[in-house]
Structure formats: structure tokens, C-alpha cells
Subunit: 206 residues, 2 copies
């Protein structure tokens, strides 16, 4: 997670900021609190990152990049379209399992400060349009062959993302409603991954 186990104070501030931003969002996290968690005084946070805004961006640009690139990275191996889909669901879901609070953070920021993430998006994934167009061609070809039912590439992506992301947003509800601990949540989430594959493939099927 950290850059090569760097134990400099700058890195400690980054790590503390990442953890706190993920847990409470940008607005509810103060630089005072970050400093305390990192083990320094509050002025030092500003010494390294100037403003709370820049700190946020420094911490999250790479994390957002991770997600965008994962989604855009489409395998070119000689496997069937459905197998590609299955692998994509799994790899996206597994990235979420490693960063279960990212959906919350991104949604939170999208609403309270859309410009920030929009700016990130264009820097982080300038080729998003091309990748999508390529996927769209592939999907159309499958539809033409009759191996999958007619549907738009947009709808397909929305379906997959909805099913994969939503369970992570629901973690607090599941915990409370089903009286689960962290291990129980993980169990449930892992089972849900298989369910998502089943649903998406059934949805494709002609």
C-alpha cells in the first residue's frame, strides 16, 4: 500500500490521511486529526502538502488511477467473450475487496465536489473513449453472431458496475442487520462475487 515501506514522516502523513479520508470522507477529516494520527504537529501536514485539498489529491490520484486502469484494461487473450466478462467481473470485484471503502469515497466526492474527480479522470484516463469504443465493437459483433442478446455497451457496463459496487456500499447495513463481524462480511462478499458472475452471464445469454 505504501511506497516501499517508507517510514518518513511525509509517508506517515500520507498513510494517515488515506485511512482517515476513506473512513470519514474529506469534509469530516481535519488536518489536525491527520497530524495526530501520523504522530506530528498539524503545521507539518501543511509544510508537506500546502493545503488539505492538495493532500487529498496527492493521496487519491493514484488510487483512482488504479480503479480506472483496472476497468479499462481489457484482456486480448484468445478466450471467449463470456470468459473475458467473467474475468473482468472477478478482477474488478477483487480490487474492491482490497479497497472496500473506495466506492463510498468516490461517490461522496462526486456529489460534494464533482470538479475534483472530473479533473482526475481526464488526467488519469485520457483514452477512456477509445477503450469504450473498442469494447462496443466487440459487443456488437457478439450480438450479430447471436451469442448474446441485444443490449447497449453502456447498459452492460452499468449492470456490471452496479452489481459489483453496491455490496460494498451496503457493508454498514449488512453488518448491522445480519450482526456480522469483519470475517462474516468478507464471507458474504466473496459469495456475492459468484452470484454477480451468474447474474451478468444470465443477462448476456441470448
Amino acid at each position: 500500500m505504501e511506497k516501499q515501506d517508507d517510514d518518513s514522516m511525509e509517508q506517515k502523513i500520507r498513510d494517515a490521511a488515506e485511512r482517515l479520508f476513506l473512513n470519514k470522507g474529506f469534509a469530516l477529516t481535519s488536518t489536525t486529526e491527520i497530524a495526530k494520527a501520523a504522530g506530528c504537529n498539524q503545521a507539518l501536514v501543511h509544510y508537506y502538502f500546502r493545503t488539505k485539498d492538495r493532500l487529498f489529491e496527492a493521496v487519491f490520484a493514484e488510487k483512482v488511477k488504479l480503479f480506472v486502469e483496472e476497468i479499462l484494461n481489457i484482456s486480448s487473450e484468445p478466450i471467449t467473450f463470456k470468459e473475458k466478462v467473467r474475468r473482468k467481473i472477478v478482477s474488478h470485484y477483487d480490487l474492491l475487496l482490497e479497497n472496500p471503502q473506495m466506492p463510498f469515497l468516490i461517490i461522496n466526492e462526486l456529489i460534494t465536489n464533482p470538479e475534483r474527480l472530473n479533473a482526475m479522470k481526464t488526467i488519469v484516463a485520457p483514452n477512456i473513449g477509445m477503450v469504450f469504443a473498442q469494447f462496443e465493437r466487440e459487443l456488437k459483433e457478439e450480438i450479430r453472431k447471436g451469442t448474446i442478446r441485444p443490449m447497449s455497451a453502456f447498459d452492460f457496463v452499468v449492470t456490471m458496475l452496479s452489481l459489483n459496487i453496491m455490496p460494498f456500499l451496503g457493508i454498514p447495513i449488512m453488518k448491522s442487520a445480519l450482526h456480522l463481524d469483519d470475517a462474516g462480511v468478507r464471507d458474504l462478499l466473496l459469495k456475492r462475487r459468484e452470484e454477480n458472475i451468474e447474474i451478468v452471464l444470465r443477462n448476456l445469454g441470448p
Copy 2:
């Protein structure tokens, strides 16, 4: 939306609070801002609601109730199981169309202050367990009859909620990525409702 077009200052404060909380969440909305939007001074907000917390609860208890009751209200008309499912998707989705920012607000609060909504839940829907158990029996009977594939009631509900809720969380992204105005967004959301019905029914089918 308001209680019978009440134009009292108390109601104006409620309305302003609702709008602001929905747009920016609890943490980023100040009572000063609410007062300004309602057209009074900030002390009056506290005169009527004592604390910002109580104001939030006063405004949202009923709105959360609306959603919980919609979900729990299962038709007992003599129609097929699949028709019931279709209607449930539509009525839930339509409630979301009328309150498109609710998913954001609920998720935001669940993470930053889970106790609040948990407390609301038990007040607002004490019979949630019974309703779920009833639905579970109905689903099992259909599976036994072979009209739908084996799946847990929990997975079924997660699927439906994921597909219905996520598009509303994605509104800011869709707006920016597809350069849509409000009417365009509404169009897309309405089309998506039909897609959700298709997906959920395909997922049921044996």
C-alpha cells in the same frame, strides 16, 4: 413534498434543510446556510429544532420511512410472482426518481454516522424481519415449483436494490461523461428502469 403548503418559517426551515442536506450532506451544510436559504437568522433554526442533529432527524425520519415502507409493502393481489417482482422494481425505481439524491444521503450517513440511521430503522420498520421471512417463504415455494432458479432471498434483494439504486449514485458521472442536462439524465434513467426489469427477470428464470 411540504406538509400542505405551509408557509410558516418553521416549514421554510425544514424545506431549506431538506434541500441542502440532500445536496451537500449533513457535514457540509451549516445552520447558518439553512437560515439564509429559509430567509431568517441562524438563531431561529435552533429555536425550532434545538440542534442541527435534531433538525436532520426531523427532516429525514419521514423520508427514510417512505423508502423502507415502499420496500416492505408487498402486494397480496392474485398475480404471478414475476409480475409482483416487476411491479416492485417499478414502484421502488419511481420513488427513487422522485428522490434522486436519497441514495447519496443515506450512504453518506451510513458511513459517517451509522447509529443515526440504525436508530431510525428500528423505529420506522419494526416488522422488517417478518416481512422478509414472508417473502423468503414465497420465493422458496417458487423455487420448489421450478418456476425460478435456486437463489437466496438475500441475494435476490441485493440484486434488485443494486440495479435500482446505483444509477442514481452515478448521475454526476453520467452527466459529465455523456454531457447530459437534467432532461437527458431523466431519459436515460427511465430507459434504465426497463433494463433493470429485464435483468432481474432473466436472473430469476429457471
